[in-house]
């Protein structure tokens, strides 16, 4: 801190003289507040404060800040201030800072809410969240109803674009992930089953797991990250740029125009992707089985055919249609409710993915219970 600006105080008759010396620069920091407090201890008995800037070098906002603090404290103590000694530029800056008085009530006072208040606020927020979901689900159901009787107001070309985006364009990532999932399951199974000399049952394991669970679940999670977040970001940005307002004042319901095509696209495409993922996963399993174990491709294929039933397939595919609706609803809901800032759009995309994945897994659990009870 050598060479930095310093100050000292001295008593001259009934005045407190503040000597400002050296170079005051923001790079070199401000004098600690404690030093100011100490220096002002004598000020209460003084009638006025004067400044001596004979030794002052160059200065910047650091000096202005310091003097402003000093002025504020002196005013609180009721001590007069003679500003004549200060540099003219500094005087003008001080005058500018004081020109507009602090607006009453403008300063935010962070209040630490009591636990009861916080629980109450959280409960109200959770209730509103639930109402929001229900209202959205109701609106989406009505839109679906209008679609079924051919009165929904959407553009067919939008539906086609969404179908392409949620379908064909998702194939590469679905291929990669399902192939790897199939391989991983085959690896894990192979190590265990080999110990019993039952390596051929790897085929059963991979086929049933893919068809009943992993195909539907993995595609749903991929689409939540890939498409659900995109829906939230698209609708959130449209909210920011007032496009949703424009739709509303044109009398076109956003539910029909924006949400319906997306919901239809995902719930139609996800089952198809799930079937494709089942197939690719089984191929991945076959690659591991034939490479690592003593199983030929024909054996694996025959074993798979005998293991799989139509029920396995239909449960998986049926579930994925539900997952598609859940992912689309989560994405669109978060997008429509997004705030009007860049950060809010990001937050809504994140919320869309998180809530979609949670919903998908919870729904999958419910399906497992129901299928178990029904004996499927």
């Amino acid at each position: 801190m050598s060479g930095s600006g310093t100050f000292s105080v001295a008593r001259v008759d009934d005045a407190l003289c503040v000597h400002l010396t050296g170079v005051w620069s923001l790079d070199r920091g401000l004098p600690p507040p404690a030093a100011l407090e100490r220096a002002l201890e004598g000020a209460a008995s003084a009638r006025r404060v004067v400044f001596d800037t004979a030794g002052l070098g160059t200065w910047d906002s650091s000096l202005v800040t310091f003097v402003a603090q000093l002025v504020e404290r002196c005013m609180r103590l009721g001590v007069g201030i003679e500003r004549r000694g200060l540099p003219p530029g500094l005087l003008r800056l001080l005058a500018l800072a004081e020109a507009v008085p602090e607006k009453a009530g403008a300063r935010a006072h962070p209040v630490r809410a009591s636990i009861a208040v916080r629980i109450g606020t959280a409960t109200i927020a959770a209730w509103q969240e639930a109402v929001g979901w229900l209202a959205f689900l109701g609106g989406a159901t009505l839109a679906l109803g209008r679609f079924l009787i051919g009165r929904a107001r959407y553009r067919r070309v939008d539906l086609a674009i969404e179908l392409q985006d949620a379908g064909a364009r998702a194939l590469p990532i679905v291929t990669l992930i399902s192939f790897l999932v199939g391989m991983i399951m085959a690896f894990v199974g192979a190590v265990q089953l080999q110990q019993f000399g039952a390596s051929i049952y790897v085929a059963n394991m991979v086929a049933i797991a893919m068809a009943r669970e992993m195909g539907a679940m993995m595609t749903a999670i991929i689409m939540a990250g890939r498409t659900g977040s995109a829906y939230a970001a698209q609708l959130g940005t449209m909210n920011v740029s007032q496009e949703i307002d424009a739709l509303t004042t044109m009398g076109i319901p956003a539910m029909d125009f924006l949400v319906l095509p997306r919901m239809l696209a995902l719930s139609l495409m996800l089952p198809l992707l799930a079937v494709y993922a089942d197939f690719v996963g089984i191929v991945g399993g076959a690659v591991v089985a034939t490479g690592m174990l003593d199983v030929s491709l024909v054996q694996y294929w025959e074993q798979t055919k005998s293991a799989l039933t139509v029920t396995d397939f239909t449960t998986g595919v049926g579930k994925s249609a539900v997952f598609g609706i859940l992912v689309a609803v989560a994405g669109c809901l978060q997008g429509l409710r997004s705030g009007r800032s860049a950060a809010a759009v990001g937050a809504s995309a994140t919320a869309a993915v998180v809530s979609a994945i949670v919903l998908v897994i919870v729904a999958d659990g419910l399906f497992a219970v129901v299928f178990n009870i029904l004996g499927i």
Binding site: S241, Q242, E243, D245, A246, T249, G251, I252
Partner: protein, 258 residues
């Protein structure tokens, strides 16, 4: 209240939750007039516009179009009323995934029985009216901010509205483009015979286009003056009104965008 009032706002209170933005606003807009809602930044003039077009619901009070209450209208009736409005949003609010012709054609497709080819013809005409002939197949991101605003205007006048709402039409425009937009507003008012409601704080625009106005004040949370701006400037004894209309020193922030 004059019988030719096109829009009547009665005792309108606007609030976000428990925070009251403006209370007890009462004014009327004459049929065929250019009516300007003035006010400093943050005084709630854009929020007032959102209340007039049903994007926000009033905490108290009512909005009437003609003799019909908009606030109490059923959703179907409201949709019918909305159809006769045209709104130009601050940033244009064009649908970014549609071309200009598709943007302008969207309300036409919804509310008329025109064939796609006819819709395109009408859309091209509307774009030509705002000086965008030949830009039918451009996407909003490919044109400048001023052009986006004019395209938004073309979409707002697609259905020959009875009332045109403008939210800060000159925000973000250079003085010359802003002047041209003002001229366009006046021209459309004459040719369409529409009532025009403009929210702005741009003094040059206010004096150029306004027949009548109200001035909102953030501190007193209500209307502090109403009447033609030139008369207000000449006659108002209220220093706040004078300061606003003359870029007075008391309110250096009144001219800035925000």
């Amino acid at each position: 209240m004059a019988t030719d009032a096109h829009i009547r706002v009665h005792g309108l209170t606007m609030a976000y939750g428990s925070f009251v933005l403006m209370r007890d606003l009462t004014f009327a807009v004459r049929r065929g007039a250019v009516f300007v809602v003035m006010g400093g930044s943050g005084s709630g003039k854009s929020t007032l516009l959102r209340h007039l077009i049903g994007l926000n619901e009033p905490a108290a009070g009512e909005v009437f179009y003609g003799d019909v209450s908009f606030t109490r209208a059923t959703p179907e009736a409201r949709e019918g009323m909305l159809r006769r409005f045209g709104v130009l949003y601050q940033s244009g609010a064009l649908f970014s995934s549609l071309t200009l012709a598709e943007n302008v054609g969207l309300p036409l497709g919804e509310y008329t029985h025109l064939s796609p080819a006819e819709i395109r013809e009408v859309a091209a005409l509307k774009l030509a009216l705002v000086g965008l002939r030949g830009f039918e197949d451009y996407y909003p991101s490919q044109i400048s901010g001023g052009m986006q605003k004019r395209a938004g205007l073309a979409r707002a006048i697609a259905l020959d509205p009875e009332i045109l709402f403008f939210d800060e039409p000159s925000a973000g425009l250079d003085p010359v483009s802003s002047r041209r937009l003002d001229d366009l507003i006046l021209e459309l008012r004459h040719s369409l015979g529409a009532t025009v409601v403009v929210v702005t704080h741009e003094l040059a625009s206010i004096f150029a286009i306004a027949d009548d106005s109200v001035l909102l004040d953030a501190d007193s949370r209500t209307i502090i003056a109403s009447g033609p701006p030139r008369e207000l400037l000449a006659q108002s004894a209220d220093p706040r009104v004078h300061a606003f209309l003359t870029r007075g020193e008391e309110r250096p922030g009144a001219e800035t965008h925000g």
